[in-house]
Symmetry: C2
Subunit: 344 residues, 2 copies
């Protein structure tokens, strides 16, 4: 989905990242085999009996952004590997807890951790992975990165974690509310999704020795990319091709998920009353065309696409400011471009 440069970078660094992740979750104590086994299961490396069995993992988007940002500012990506692993572990810890919180039974075509081992173990397994993410990022200090830089990336990491939980608080709170404003929604995803994508870029840039100016604009790049990424996800959740996304058509509508296009129409004078009435109760697939027609009536899709376009533009401008003319030829540019043109 990305250009040649990004593909080459990913092919080179993805196996090294996986190795780093394996090493971070290594533990030989027999009594703890189940504890680390649950983490490895979630990562897609073993089955429910802890026997090796690879299943397709996530895209590892965030750690790749971290390594690329380090590389683009002239740093040595190998110094950013433990931090990249930490970011991926943090992302996965939050998925383990999200699955418990949302009661989701399936992730990546397999039972979720809580579904197999119960909520108590799943909560604690997430806590363990959270702690191990810190061990990973702290180990950066052993790779010749200055202490001051290690403390800086720890500050970014921790502030991001706080933002993540703030975003998740808002997201859970929204479930109990009939109406949520578009602005409130944007505030929520700034915490829940955008913060970690921004941090991935900022941490990689810090380790790579970015100048203060570069660091600032790369942060803007990450922020805009994160927002665009989430809203693109929202669009795919409603209009994505089921064959590409692996989810039912109109999936997010059927789940009554408060995503941007829906909130736009739910807050639009023209469609609000009818849409609210329609969605007051559980949705059935035969109601889908009616909802989609209402979204079309107020241009909900175009509105969301316009935001994606604008954020994408902001992101690329920031990248040009950070990297100069070569920005459009960078792996980071290609990756960002690919992410927003994606269909799954």
């Amino acid at each position: 989905m990305s250009g040649q440069k990004a593909q080459t970078f990913i092919s080179h660094w993805l196996p090294k990242l996986e190795q780093e992740l394996y090493a971070q979750l290594a533990n030989e104590e027999e009594a703890l085999a189940g504890f680390y086994g649950m983490m490895r299961y979630h990562m897609g490396w073993v089955d429910e009996t802890f026997q090796p069995k690879l299943t397709p993992a996530g895209k590892r988007l965030r750690p790749m952004l971290c390594l690329m940002a380090c590389d683009e500012v002239g740093g040595v990506p190998v110094q950013a590997l433990p931090a990249a692993a930490a970011i991926e572990l943090l992302h996965n810890f939050s998925l383990i807890h999200d699955d418990v919180e949302d009661g989701d039974e399936i992730r990546r075509h397999r039972s979720t951790v809580w579904k197999v081992w119960g909520a108590p173990q799943a909560i604690n397994t997430g806590d363990g992975m959270f702690s191990i993410a810190y061990r990973a990022i702290q180990s950066t200090a052993r790779l010749g990165v200055p202490d001051r830089t290690v403390l800086t990336i720890l500050n970014i990491f921790t502030d991001t974690n706080i933002r993540l939980t703030e975003g998740q608080y808002l997201d859970i709170s929204f479930e109990d509310r009939e109406v949520v404003g578009v602005d409130e929604y944007i505030r929520m995803i700034m915490g829940k999704t955008s913060a970690l994508i921004k941090a991935s870029v900022a941490i990689g840039a810090s380790i790579g020795g970015a100048s203060m100016a570069q660091f600032g604009v790369l942060g803007q790049f990450g922020h805009a990319l994160g927002l665009a990424f989430q809203i693109q996800d929202d669009i795919l959740g409603i209009w994505g091709d089921p064959e590409m996304t692996g989810k039912a058509a109109g999936n997010d509508i059927l789940r009554r998920k408060k995503s941007l296009p829906l909130l736009y129409a739910l807050n639009h004078g023209q469609t609000a009353p009818q849409l609210r009435a329609l969605m007051a109760d559980e949705m059935t697939p035969d109601q889908l065309p009616q909802v989609l027609a209402l979204l079309e009536q107020v241009g909900a899709r175009e509105h969301a696409e316009e935001i994606v376009r604008r954020q994408h533009e902001t992101a690329l401008h920031a990248l040009e400011e950070a990297l100069g003319e070569r920005a459009t030829e960078s792996a980071l540019y290609e990756l960002a471009d690919g992410l927003l043109g994606r269909r799954s």
Copy 2:
């Protein structure tokens, strides 16, 4: 419960610690009032509607150990305040999650966070407090503590968090097992209880500038104290005076909690068959005398008390090695002594 010196220290530092905790959990964003409100509720500062209402908080034992250790090695306790707050926040994050995992509805005579706001918010609130604990400990870098020391205490903190979750994994696993060995139990509490008490001392000593030798023996002090503390808790859970502990007589027996005295008798040839049969199902208060008689028959209480005594001795020896002759006159000594002579 402690001597004069410890009391004086605590009277001086407890209000400063509370102030630091307040500051760490401060947030003015209106949309997040509920998020930080839940944390403040758990800490005992506000009621369920987030109105100020102080309720008796925990003993703040761990942060006090941290501040005292800093003081005893010649450091400036004010430099250890954010770390002490971080330790207390970490302890409280683990309580919020433990309550969800154990399904406990009451803590300190009030409804637990999950009981009031549901498990999803409680899990996420715990995650938030965990992250804020890191922000607190990282802020030590702004108090003139060298970067290298800040990284050292972060390593101790993170290793402790991993140990905590490992211990909790074992504890949850034990619930599904009919028999757990005494050694397995000790391994579990080394992670779940002892590690954080040890870390409290070690972090305070590091910030205070302890020598390598002092640091090592103070670690031993903390480890032994932590073990003794937990087993003393186990004894009180069975034989504690209900008026002092605020819990029913034989509380842990009725809950069939796998604590040391019970495991000792459950693994003892003389009492194992009868006790296992008795405790195979839910317990009723009228069965209590029978269980207590079996425990007495094999000297389960004496066995536990003997371990407490031995660990207490180990702790005090280590303290003498660290502080020399003045050890027995130190606040740390008095606090340790008071903890093990306690009745609640």
